[in-house]
Amino acid sequence: MQDPILSVAHLSVDLGGRGILRDVSFDLHPGQLCALIGENGAGKTTLLRSLLGLTPHRAGQVWIEGVPVGQRRILVGYVPQKIVFDVDVPLRTRDLVQLGLDGHRLGLPLFSSGKKTMVDQALQMVGAEAFADQRVGELSGGQQQRAVIAHALVRQPRLLILDEPLANLDFRSANALVALLGTLARTQRIAMLVTAHDMNPLLPVMDRLIYLVGGQVATGSVEEVVQSEVLSKLYGYPVTVLRHGQRVLVLPDAAVEPSGVIAAGQVSSPEKAN
């Protein structure tokens, strides 16, 4: 097997004096599409941010392509869970995507047709051509999300880190994005780490799952983890896995009275209706 593109060893992260992640270790290989799941507040965003060096860690190490994070910037595409764009900011979708290409460069931007082609391609990949020339602040939440995904994709990173990329998307956009991620993983060997509360759209393309609970992770292949008993245990909530031919569907079990299962304050909605 190839060297891992992302390697995490014994990572521990504290926030506000509280231990959020404890001794987290896992590897991610080129072309792997890995879902990161866990309930609200489990520390998914914290984990992704510390992988990127945005949140400092207390102990452990993170290597991207064999280089410790923070030493040298490697090509990583990142889509944060939430970005707020003010309505009156003079920035078109196209400009945001272009910043993903050359936003770190010094000097004034000069027009280049090569760059424009790359920007157009990225816009097209996420289906953002229609609002390419609109201000980002004027777009809907889902449109903004697609714009940020294009921003992350445009430099053709080797590792993509997506925090809830499907949260604001309609059926069509969500499925289109999942198909795109699957294609990129397969054809360009891009490794991806994706958080999602609703894993159903991702099931056809993902090959691994990382489950985060109590600050620690459990990893497994889709076959191992996507089972009614395993998921029910992980979520602490009855979950049914339905199989119909090729399709797999994960459903929270509404028929069971939940009050006995969920401890107060732990309510999670792993399966938001899309």
């Binding site: 941010r49 990127l52 060096g53 945005l54 910037r73 990583v76 990142y78 944060p80 970005i83 764009f85 003010d86 009156d88 900011v89 003079p90 920035l91 078109r92 400009d95 945001l96 910043l99 993903g100 050359d102 936003g103 770190h104 460069r105 010094l106 000097g107 004034l108 931007p109 020339d133 609109q134 201000r135 940020v148 921003h151």
Partner: protein, 301 residues
């Protein structure tokens, strides 16, 4: 030259030395504030910019005491204030406003002291008015070169860090992931902001500098969809307001039979009018662009 001024109803306008100095220093202030203003308004830093300008008045007052160039005085104080605000803790909106307000208060207190000392210990008359509200026609010719140098530095800094500054303004995390050093960008932005504030304070006074720093930028942002376009609009608006204000102040000598009104008043009034016009224009244009009837996909007729 003379005949052109006369043609505009202002005999002697272009041949007057003070007017030439005013036109050049005013242009510096307008152009520099356009560049910095767009970034300040974008990042919601308008209040911080305003506070810096106000606080720089203490530096302007000190310059009279020490007999140094007022530009240096404004600049020194603007930088001191900028770095104090940076190090006193910012980030969160409300906390930032609080810190800014506290630094602003302290700076203006100093300013009150130094202006008092100006009047009592030196024989400067009108120091308070020229520090606070500026007097473009009274700027000595020797300040043209420093003003040009300060403006040139701002253009150099912003030109060099244009894209990282923009990315950091969009979202600091996205910038950090791209390898942009937020610390450096923040530092350079403060340096540039201080320089811009100093040039503006010299031109139209420390208190009124805000008008030039955020007025044209605020108007321009409503008129443009692209960052570069917004900066260009801000330059055009700022330059028109400053040069128009100088021209009107010069002409007001004839309008009010020998009692010319201050330049700063006309500049600020024009900036305000442009801002109003831009807001109105954006409203009207926005309304016109809007409605599109919505139908269900299968109910289209």
């Amino acid at each position: 030259m003379w005949s052109f001024g006369a043609l505009l109803g202002n005999p002697g306008f272009f041949s007057s030395g003070p007017v030439q100095t005013a036109l050049i220093v005013g242009a510096c202030a307008a152009l520099v504030s356009a560049v910095i203003g767009v970034f300040s308004v974008w990042r919601g830093n308008a209040f911080a910019g305003h506070a810096l300008a106000d606080v720089s008045s203490a530096g302007g007052a000190v310059s009279f005491l020490l007999g140094i160039s007022p530009l240096l005085g404004f600049l020194g104080m603007a930088w001191i204030a900028a770095f104090s605000m940076e190090f006193l803790g910012i980030r969160i909106g409300r906390e930032r406003d609080l810190t800014t307000g506290i630094v602003l208060g302290a700076g203006l207190g100093l300013s009150a002291l130094f202006l008092y000392l100006d009047v009592t210990t030196t024989s400067t008359t009108g120091a308070a008015v020229s520090v606070m509200f500026g007097s473009l026609f009274a700027i000595p010719q020797s300040l043209i070169t420093p003003a040009l140098a300060a403006s040139g530095s701002v253009f150099l800094l912003v030109g060099l860090f244009y894209r990282p500054m923009m990315l950091a303004a969009v979202d600091p995390d996205l910038a950090a992931v791209r390898g942009v050093s937020l610390r450096w960008v923040g530092l350079l932005q403060l340096l540039a902001l201080g320089l811009a504030v100093a040039v503006c304070a010299l031109a139209i006074g420390a208190v009124l500098a805000t008008a030039l720093l955020i007025g044209p930028a605020g108007a321009a942002i409503r008129l443009s969809r692209r960052p570069g376009q917004a900066i260009l609009w801000a330059m055009v608006i700022g330059l028109t307001a400053v040069w128009g204000g100088i021209w009107m102040a010069y002409a007001s000598y004839y309008w009010f039979s020998g009692n010319a009104w201050p330049v700063s008043f006309f500049v600020v009034a024009l900036v305000f009018l442009f801002y109003l016009a831009a807001v109105l224009f954006a409203k009207v244009a926005g309304l016109a662009a809007h409605p599109k009837p919505v139908t269900w996909p299968h109910c289209e007729t």
